[in-house]
Structure formats: structure tokens, C-alpha cells
């Protein structure tokens, strides 16, 4: 992994502001599943309905309720 990849910017989206413990846990999860990350930006978006979304330049880890509901809807629409 290169230095540039290691300093990749991460955006964490939630419906409410995260606590310090949650931020730490979220950063740790992001490192595990998205790789080494640099600066983290936190965003509040009620449209995700719950849960979290981790976003880097080229990857997205969508653990939101909105995504789960969309998956269920797609399953029903098939």
C-alpha cells in the first residue's frame, strides 16, 4: 500500500453526531475493511434513516437503514 492510499480521506455519514467512542470504533472498522485512512470527515444526513455509511474516493461501505430497505424493496420487486 502506498502512502497516498494510506492517507486517503474518509467520510462517515450518520443520522446523529457520533460520540468519541463511536468515532474511534468507526475509524477502526474503516481501517479494517477499507484500508489505512487519513483524515476523517463526519457528515449528518437524516436521509440514511439510521446506521452508518463509510465513503472513500473509490469505495463505499453502506451500513445504513436506507440501504437495507432498498435491498429489501429490490428483492420484493424481482
Amino acid at each position: 500500500m502506498t502512502e497516498a492510499e494510506g492517507n486517503e480521506e474518509l467520510k462517515i455519514i450518520s443520522t446523529i453526531p457520533l460520540t468519541d467512542r463511536e468515532k474511534e470504533l468507526a475509524r477502526s472498522r474503516a481501517q479494517k475493511f477499507l484500508g489505512v485512512i487519513g483524515r476523517v470527515e463526519y457528515e449528518i444526513d437524516p436521509n440514511i434513516l439510521g446506521g452508518l455509511i463509510f465513503k472513500t474516493r473509490d469505495k463505499i461501505l453502506n451500513l445504513s437503514i436506507a440501504e437495507k430497505l432498498n435491498q429489501i424493496k429490490n428483492l420484493l420487486d424481482e
Partner: protein, 167 residues
């Protein structure tokens, strides 16, 4: 002889007269009369023969006519049989064709109904899933902070393998 009252002279004259009469009758009466009788018999014979011939011809004609009638009857019978058979065949074909058409129409209608039913079901399903999604969105958008935090905690413990995508 005179004693018996017979006059020889008169007798001889009468005999001569009779002979003359006989000759005259034979010459001018009997012969033409016999010829007339022979001619008449010949004519009757010819008429009988002609009558016989005509009767035979008539019989032959009747036999021939009978045969022709028989032949015509057979021909008409054959024609009737053919017409009846063709009519039955036509009727059978028509029934078969109509039955097949009816089957095709019913099959098409059944397929159409099934397709419509499936489409209606799909539409309802889509509508229900859309409504369910909207209701869920309403429910989740109205949750309190504590529940929102629980959802965040759940996300942090979730195995995210299936939710990781390349952009």
C-alpha cells in the same frame, strides 16, 4: 227309269249345266276366292310375324330400359353416397377446425388472463413494497436519538462484506 219319273234328257242337260257351272265357278270364283284366302292368310301370317317382332323388340327395349334404369339407380346411389360422405367429411373438418380455433382462443385467453394476473400481482407487489418502504422511512425518520445510536452500534458490529462496493 221313266217309271220312276226321271227324264234322262233333262237329267243330262242338268248334269251338263252343273258341269258348266262347276267350270265357271272353278275358273272365276273358286280360284280368286282361294287366292284371296291365301293372300289373306299370308297377310295375317306377316302381321303375326310383325307383331311377334314388335313384341320382341318391345321386350328388348324394356329389358334395355330396365338395365339403364338399374344403372342410373346405381350411379345416383353412388353419387348420393359420395355427396353424403363428402358432407360428413366436411362436417367433421368444420367441427375439428372450429374446435381447434376455440381451443386456440381459449388458450390465448387463458394465457392473457394469466399474464394480466401476474402483471397485476407484480404491480400490487411493487406498490406494497413501495408503501412498505415509505412507511419504514417514516418510522425510521421519527426515531429518537437513543434508537439512532443503537442502529449505529449495530452497524459497527455488522459484518460488512456484502455492503462494500467500488464506486
Amino acid at each position: 227309269m221313266e217309271g220312276l219319273g226321271i227324264d234322262f234328257k233333262l237329267l243330262i242337260i242338268q248334269v251338263v249345266n252343273f258341269l258348266i257351272l262347276l267350270l265357271i265357278l272353278k275358273k272365276w270364283i273358286y280360284k280368286p276366292f282361294l287366292k284371296f284366302l291365301d293372300d289373306r292368310a299370308a297377310k295375317i301370317h306377316e302381321s303375326l310375324k310383325a307383331s311377334q317382332t314388335m313384341r320382341e323388340e318391345l321386350r328388348d327395349f324394356e329389358v334395355k330400359k330396365e338395365k339403364e334404369l338399374e344403372s342410373l339407380k346405381e350411379k345416383s346411389q353412388t353419387i348420393l353416397e359420395n355427396v353424403r360422405r363428402e358432407a360428413l367429411e366436411e362436417k367433421k373438418n368444420t367441427i375439428e377446425m372450429t374446435t381447434n380455433e376455440a381451443k386456440s382462443i381459449m388458450e390465448a385467453a387463458r394465457n392473457q388472463i394469466e399474464a394480466d394476473r401476474k402483471k397485476a400481482l407484480k404491480d400490487i407487489q411493487k406498490e406494497v413494497s413501495f408503501l412498505a418502504l415509505e412507511i419504514s422511512k417514516k418510522i425510521f425518520s421519527g426515531i429518537d436519538v437513543e434508537k439512532a445510536r443503537t442502529l449505529i452500534d449495530n452497524s459497527l458490529q455488522e459484518d460488512p462484506k456484502n455492503n462494500l462496493k467500488e464506486i
